[in-house]
Each structure stands twice: as C-alpha cells, then as structure tokens.
C-alpha cells in the first residue's frame, strides 16, 4: 500500500496540476503533495513497517510475465526517504522563483518524483525501466522549457545520453529476462545469477557492460559525464537539484540493485576497471572543479568526484564500504541540495553565478554564510558532518576490501580528491563570501526566509546524521550484507 500511495500521490497531483492555472495554487498543491508523500514515507518506516504494507505485487503484462512488484527494503526506504524529503525542500527552497506556466512546471516536477520513487521501489526489471524513463522525460521537458540560454541543445544532449544508456539497459534486461527463464523479477535475476554464475561468459560481460553504461551515464561516471556540467548549468535550479540530489542516486542505486547482484561474476572480473575509471574520474573532476568560475559547474564537478567515490566503494566492496555508500547516497543528496539552494539564492539575487564577480557576501548576509559554511564543510566531509561518516566508511571499506589488489592505491588516490575538494570548496567560500565587496554585491540582502528555513533543516540533518548515524546504518545493514553475500569475493 505504501508503494502505491507513494507513486500515486505525486502522479495524480502531477497530472492534476496541468489543469490548474494559478501559479500559487499550483505551487501550494505541489508542496502539500510532496509533504503528504513524505508523511506516507515516514509512516511506512514507522507504523506501517511490515511486509503487507511495504510490498505490492500484482499481475501486469501476462504475455511477458511482468508484474507490478514494488518492495521497500532498507535501501529503497533510504532512497525513498531521500526523495520524499528532498522534494518539499526543493519546492519550498525555490519558493521565490517565478516560472512561466508554473502549473506545468510543478506538474512535471511531481511526475518526475513519481518516476523516481518508482525506480527506487520496483522489483521488476521492466517496471524499473518504465520508471527510469518516467523520471527522465518530465525532467527533460522541465529543463528544456525553463532552462538557460543553451537549454535546448544541452538538455537534448542529456536526453540522448541517458536514453542511449537506458536502451542499452533495456537490452540487458531483455537478455536477463531470457536467462532467468522468461521472468523480469529481480529475485529471479538474482537467483539465476547465483545458480549459473559463470565468470567470463561473453553474454554476462555484455549485460554487465550495457547495464554499466546506463548507470554510468546517469551517475555520471567518467568518461560519460560530459552531459552533466552543461546540463546542471542550463537547467532551472529546481531541476538541477533533482538531477544531482536524487537522479544521480538512481545510477548508484541501479548499480547496487540491478548490476552487482545480477551479474556478480562480471562485476568481480571487471570491477577493477570500473574502479580505476572512478578514481580517474574523481581526480579529473576535482582538478576541473578547481578551474571553474561558474558556481554551478563547480558544484557539478564536485558531484562527479563524490559519486566517483561511491562507485569505487561499490566495485572494491566490503561491508563497511557498502554501508558507507548507502549512507553517503543520502548524505550527498541533502548536502548537494544545500549547495544548490545557496547557488540558487545567489543567482536569484545577483543574476550571476560567476565566482569572480562575487565577493564579500558574508558581510551582508551572515545567516546565509553560516548555513553555507556548514553545508560546504559537510561537502568536504569534515568530521561531525554527515559526509564524514559516509566517506570514512567508504575509505575504510576500500582499504579493507579483499576484492582488489589495488585497493590501497585507490584509497590514496581517492583521499587526494578529498583534499582537492577541500581546496576548491574553501576557495569558493573565500572568494564568494569573504573578501572585498564589489559593485554587484554592495546591496546584498539577507537570503529569503524560505531558504533560511530549508537550509536550517538541511544543516540540522547534516549535524544529526553526523553525530548519530545509527538509524540509517541499521536501516541498510541487512541490504548491504545481502549485496555483499551475492558478490564474489576473493
């Protein structure tokens, strides 16, 4: 029941919003709906926390033996929580933004929420694919319609990239379908993988590569990231927030749910290659980020670096590392949300995102600065912030993993990016918030109440998780252990 509600609430709201003309009404309805889904999610994690409420399994396409099968296990709960938690924040945080055809904007936003939630809950490959695309299409429209100057070309690139990836994923799913004896069920996939695990079979390799491609594009993994900075830059801020905070997690989630347990042999065999790519990507993204002048691009590249670390932890696995990935998915989501909110606030106020044009904001907007600093520190994973927990566990996991002989090298290289991350983040803070006031920032006002509220919530969450991460860790411990069990370790 909970999964159905989670999907139907945003879906119906989204469709209904197309009919509502007034901007504020639409915005309010969207906000209320997102709150409602958060409430449902929280209820699902507390009072309805039993199998009867958390799973839903109905006949769908008889000819294909495909089912409406949703299940909320720990990982799904975590990500759904992230989604449902983020959406009210996003809507509320950008309350001040004005949109043409706002009803459509929020309608599409809600539709993409439905898609995202579906992705995180589906236990049927075809269904997964469906929601995967459902999350994408509204965002495409969102970005193309309300984005920046070069929005049409850029978002189209983004769309083509992800569409290509998802088509490859579809092929992989079809192959798995036949392999699993005409079944799309995740459980059957996994069962087949466990019973017929044969490393080196070309088919398994093909499946692995295709799935990997789809997820790599989505996360994005170097060298499939080229769409990402452009798109983050050109999309409206709410879209960017969804893209980076939640959609990037789709890829990570996909790896954990649909790749690692499903093609364990290939994962084991080619894990090192992917891990290497991830590390290279992290370094690359960090270096590029240091060069950036545009706030959005900077955050975008930093996101690539963070995601790279998660990928590394997945392909050089250990229990601790996987747990780290789980919690980091959540953390990165809310952290980057915070970053974007600040960027949005700055852009709304100054009409520019250039670091070089800004400066000295702290003098005029101390609240914003404090909140930002906390978020930024979380982003460079200072202890006591949530990210520290995740990254520490991941490093720990990578170092302790027996899966790869290069784990130490990976860990060192990844550690380097943390330092680099600290460099560019702090430099950004320094340049933007401190230093001299210039003509543009002379009249800086304090950030709006909406943003303050949202940022405060985020900061609270950062600190709470940073200090007491146990609830989240227990939530995912079973899943992490299961995934680890299904992997082939030395």
């Amino acid at each position: 029941m909970v999964p159905v509600l989670l999907i139907l609430i945003p879906l119906i709201t989204g469709l209904a919003l197309f009919a509502i003309r007034q901007e504020n009404t639409a915005k309010t309805i969207a906000f209320l709906a997102s709150i409602l889904s958060l409430a449902v999610m929280l209820a699902g994690m507390s009072i309805w926390n039993d199998a009867a409420h958390l799973t839903y399994n109905e006949q769908w396409i008889g000819a294909l033996n495909s089912r409406f099968h949703f299940d909320l296990d720990g990982m799904s709960q975590l990500l759904c929580l992230l989604t449902t938690f983020s959406f009210p924040l996003i809507i509320y945080g950008t309350w001040g933004n004005r949109y043409v055809d706002a009803n459509r904007f929020f309608g599409l936003l809600m539709l993409s929420q439905a898609g995202l939630l579906g992705v995180f809950m589906s236990m049927d490959a075809l269904l997964f694919y469906f929601f995967w695309e459902l999350a994408l299409i509204p965002l495409y429209f969102l970005c193309s319609r309300w984005g920046g100057e070069r929005r049409i070309a850029v978002t189209f690139k983004f769309f083509v990239y992800t569409f290509l990836g998802s088509l490859f994923m579809l092929i992989a799913m079809i192959m798995l379908y036949f392999k699993a004896g005409n079944s799309f069920a995740w459980a059957d996939f996994v069962k087949t993988a466990q019973t017929h695990a044969s490393s080196g079979s070309s088919q398994e390799l093909a499946i692995f590569l295709m799935l990997m491609l789809a997820f790599a594009i989505k996360m994005p993994l170097f060298p499939f990231h080229t769409w990402q900075p452009d798109t983050y830059e050109q999309t409206p801020n709410a879209g960017t927030m969804i893209l980076s905070a939640i959609m990037a997690k789709m890829g990570v989630y996909g790896l954990l749910r649909w790749l690692v347990p499903v093609v364990p042999a290939a994962t084991f065999q080619y894990g090192d290659n992917i891990a290497t790519l991830a590390v290279v990507g992290m370094l690359y993204a960090s270096f590029i980020a240091m060069q950036q002048d545009d706030l959005k691009r900077l955050v975008a590249y930093s996101s690539i670096a963070h995601i790279g670390l998660m990928i590394l932890a997945i392909f050089v696995p250990s229990y601790s590392g996987l747990q780290g990935v789980m919690i980091q998915m959540f953390n990165h989501g809310i952290n980057i949300l915070g970053m974007w909110l600040v960027v949005n606030a700055i852009e709304q106020q100054f009409g520019t995102r250039k670091i070089s044009e800004l400066g000295g904001i702290a003098q005029k907007a101390p609240v914003l600065t404090i909140l930002l600093v906390v978020v930024a520190l979380a982003n460079v994973s200072l202890p006591l912030t949530n990210a520290f927990i995740g990254e520490f566990m991941m490093f720990n996991g990578v170092l302790g993993s027996t899966a790869s002989q290069y784990s130490v090298i990976y860990a060192v290289a990844a550690g380097l990016t943390i330092i680099l991350g600290a460099v560019y983040t702090l430099r950004m803070i320094q340049r933007v918030f401190y230093g001299e006031l210039n003509t543009l920032t002379m009249n800086t006002r304090e950030v709006s109440g909406y943003v303050q509220v949202v940022l405060s919530i985020i900061v609270v969450a950062i600190l709470v998780i940073g200090i007491y991460p146990k609830p989240l860790l227990t939530l995912t411990s079973d899943v992490s252990q299961q995934i680890l069990n299904k992997m082939i370790l030395k």
Partner: protein, 458 residues
C-alpha cells in the same frame, strides 16, 4: 471473410453514394458508419461469428493473428477517417471515390492478412496497390502528386513483376502455391529454384514495404501524395503489407534454414540506417515522417528477422502503435500551413491540446516507455535477442533509435521550446477530442499492452 466481403460491398456502396449525395460530408458520414460496421463485423469474426459461410478451399485462412491485425487496421482507419476525413473531402471532387478506394484497400489488407496461397497474396497486394496509385495521384492539378503517382506506380508494378517471378520459381520447386505445404520438401534437386524464388520474393516485398535498398521511391511518393493519403499509405497500408510479408516468410524462411538471416539482418540494418540518418537532414516534417516510416519499417523487419511468438506480438503492437501515432501526427500536420520544422514553432502556446497529443505520438514513435511505441520496439528487440543470432543488429537498432530521437524531438522542441506563431487552420473540438482519445489509447496500451495481445491467445 466478413471483412473482405463487407469492405468490398461498402466500397461499392460508397461509390454509389457519390452519385446519390453531392454533399461531401454526407459521404463522409456514410464512410465512417461503414467503417464502424466493418470493425464490428471483424470483431464478430474474432469472436467466432462468421456472417458468410464460404469454403475458401484453403486459399484463405482466418487466423487469430490475421484477424487481430485486421481489426487493428480497420480500427486505425476508423481513427484516420475520424481525424482526417474532412481533409479527404477537400482533396478533390471525387470524394465518394476516395472513400470507396479506401474501403477497397481495406479489402486488400483483409486478403493479405488471411492469405494462404501465394495467389491470394498477389491479388491482395494488387488490390491494395492499385487504389493507392490512384489516391497518390488524386490531386490532379498538382505536379508533385502526379509525379508521385507515376513513380509509385512504376516502382510498384516493377516490384510486382519481381514478385511474380519469385512466386513462379517457388512454385516450380514446390509444386504448390500454398504456403503451408511449401514447408514440405518435394524435390531437393530443385532447391535452387526455391531459394532464388524466395530471394526475388524478398526483394519485391522489401520494395513494397520500402526497406532499404529498395526504399528510394518512398520519400518522394509520400511527399508528393496528398498529405491525407500519405497518412493512410504510410501507416495502415504499410503495416498491412508487413503482415503479409511476415505471414509469407513464416512458412518459408523459417523452414529454409538460417542462411536468410544475414541477408535480412543487412536489409534491416540498412533500412534503419538510411531511414534514420536521412530523416535527420530533412527540413520538412512531412518528408521527415516519410523517412521515419522507412526507419520504422526497419524495426518492423525484426519480425521477419526472428520468427517467434514475441515477433508476432511485436508486429501487432508495432502496427498499432505506429498507425495510431503516425495518423495522429499527420492529422495535425495536414492542418499546418508550413510543413517545415519551423512551422511548428510555438504550437504549444496556441494549440496546447494538439501539441500535447502530437508530443505523445512522437514519443511513441521514438519508443519512449509509457507509450505503445515502447512495447512495440521492446517486443521486436526481445524477439531478436531471443532468436540469438546477429546480436549486433540489436545494438545497431538501438543506436538508430537514439538517432531517431533527434528528429522526433526536433518537432517537440519546436512546439514547446521555441518561440513562434505556428500557423494552423482552425480545428474543431471533435477533432481535438479524437486526438486526445488516440493519445490516451497510445498511453493506455503503452501501460497495458495485454489489452491487445490477449486477443492473440484467447
């Protein structure tokens, strides 16, 4: 049999209705009513009610597959008439004749879907082709229409010649025209005849469904024909011929080993490639749709490439999705003043309903999930994967599908993201409602393809 006989009769009725009623709209209403009758009759036959007790002497066999497709064709034509019949009335003065010809085409499609003997296939294809030649040239004053008709006619009859030679050689080897009996091996010494015949048949059918490298007539013809008939030709008829294609080679190719698969794979790949790549460079939406129809044919060729239950389901869904979507897009296109992509700029602002439905149709053509187009492509790819041979083709198809997104989304981009004042003729609420209905159908079947597929098996 219901559909064959009734469509012929209704065609004649419409011919005479032109004499009785001078008003085009009356004729149009009769045609729509006739189409409803036809649909009802065919559905009745699917349920097992045969209105006519005729011994077909094993020349026709009414399988569930054929009947289902027939229903789809008739249903799609009904939709087509509902959205475009006003434009048919505007093509020329011979309104009743146009409608009659459409009914005759449906008769031909009914024959093609049910043929059991090559003779019936031949007749069916001709019954489909000849009215189309005429419809292509219906706009007599228009030089482009004339040229298209001539070109279509010459190409069509040329391929008929090739097809006949193929049939003859096959007959020489197998001593029968019956596609079921053809499976049996009669005389191994004559296998070369058989194979040559099949090859010629393949070429000619490739001509008819405009598969590369025999596609070159298609864009010109589709472009030149009156748009409203292009819509009919490119969708229902093409799908109908495809069904014939599939039925023909089900019994022959599948039995004659897999040496065909490579040829088919090459044809499919070429079709996909040429259709998609050329469509990218088009400036006119009409021409883009013509090339996209070639590209879509490439996907439909998967049904031939791999004969299994998935491919049958796939071709059914593909036909349905393709027909609905393309008919819908064409219905909007006809009303546009400017057929180029720029002509669509800003359509979403002035005509939100049209833009939204067109978007859904385009998404369906591109094969985005939640539309029937996705399942169509899904089944095709799945059948090829299940078949197992020549997997490179699947990847090639995916790449082409991605390319296709480019030109389909150009229209969407023009409608939604670019500013402009799309010049469009006024539309009636009824027209919009039908479009919405079609779009809803596209989505509904995109979520529950079983609503159609179950009829293959009940």
């Amino acid at each position: 049999m219901n559909a064959i006989i009734l469509s012929a009769i209704l065609g004649v009725v419409l011919m005479f209705s032109g004499i009785m009623f001078k008003n085009g709209n009356t004729v149009r209403n009769i045609a729509i009513a006739g189409m409803l009758i036809l649909l009802f009759a065919n559905l009745a036959e699917m349920k097992g009610y045969h209105f006519f007790d005729i011994n077909t002497k094993n020349l026709l066999s009414f399988t569930r597959f054929g009947l289902l497709f027939n229903s789809i064709a008739i249903g799609a034509t009904l939709m087509y008439m509902l959205v475009s019949s006003r434009d048919i009335v505007n093509v020329g003065i011979n309104v009743a004749e146009y409608f009659a010809l459409i009914f005759f085409v449906l008769c031909g499609i009914a024959v093609i879907t049910a043929f059991q003997s090559l003779l019936m296939l031949f007749l069916g294809i001709e019954i489909v082709s000849i009215p189309l030649y005429i419809l292509t040239g219906a706009d007599k004053r228009n030089l482009k229409s004339n040229e298209a008709a001539l070109k279509y006619f010459l190409m069509g009859s040329f391929s008929t010649g090739i097809m006949l030679m193929g049939i003859v050689l096959v007959y020489g080897a197998k001593a029968t025209f019956n596609i079921e009996l053809m499976g049996a091996d009669v005389n191994p010494g004559r296998n070369a005849w058989y194979l040559s015949g099949l090859l010629l048949l393949l070429i000619s059918m490739a001509f008819k469904v405009s598969a590369a490298p025999f596609h070159f007539w298609t864009p010109d013809v589709y472009d030149g024909a009156p748009t409203v008939f292009t819509s009919f030709m490119a969708t229902i008829v093409k799908a109908g011929v495809f069904i014939g294609f599939v039925r023909l080679f089900e019994g022959t190719f599948a039995n004659s080993g897999y040496q065909w698969q490579l040829i088919l794979a090459i044809i499919t790949a070429a079709t996909l490639f040429i259709g998609n790549v050329t469509a990218v460079f088009q400036q006119s939406v009409k021409r883009m749709l013509a090339y996209s129809s070639i590209a879509q044919a490439g996907f439909m060729l998967f049904a031939l490439f791999s004969f299994n239950s998935l491919s049958r389901e796939g071709i059914i869904l593909y036909s349905l999705g393709y027909c609905l979507a393309t008919v819908g897009i064409f219905a909007v296109l006809i009303r546009m003043k400017d057929y180029t992509f720029e002509g669509f700029n800003g359509l979403a602002r002035s005509q939100p309903v049209l833009a939204a439905t067109t978007t859904i149709f385009l998404l369906s053509l591109a094969g985005i999930p939640l539309t029937i187009g996705f399942f169509a492509k899904y089944f095709m790819l799945a059948s090829a994967i299940k078949n197992g041979a020549h997997l490179w083709l699947v990847f090639f198809a995916i790449l082409c599908a991605v390319v296709s997104v480019y030109y389909y989304f150009r229209v969407i981009q023009a409608m939604y993201f670019r500013d402009g004042h799309a010049a469009i003729e006024p539309t009636t609420p009824g027209f919009r409602w039908i479009l919405v209905f079609m779009a809803a159908l596209v989505i509904l079947l995109g979520i529950f393809p079983n609503l159609v597929l179950q009829y293959l098996y009940f």
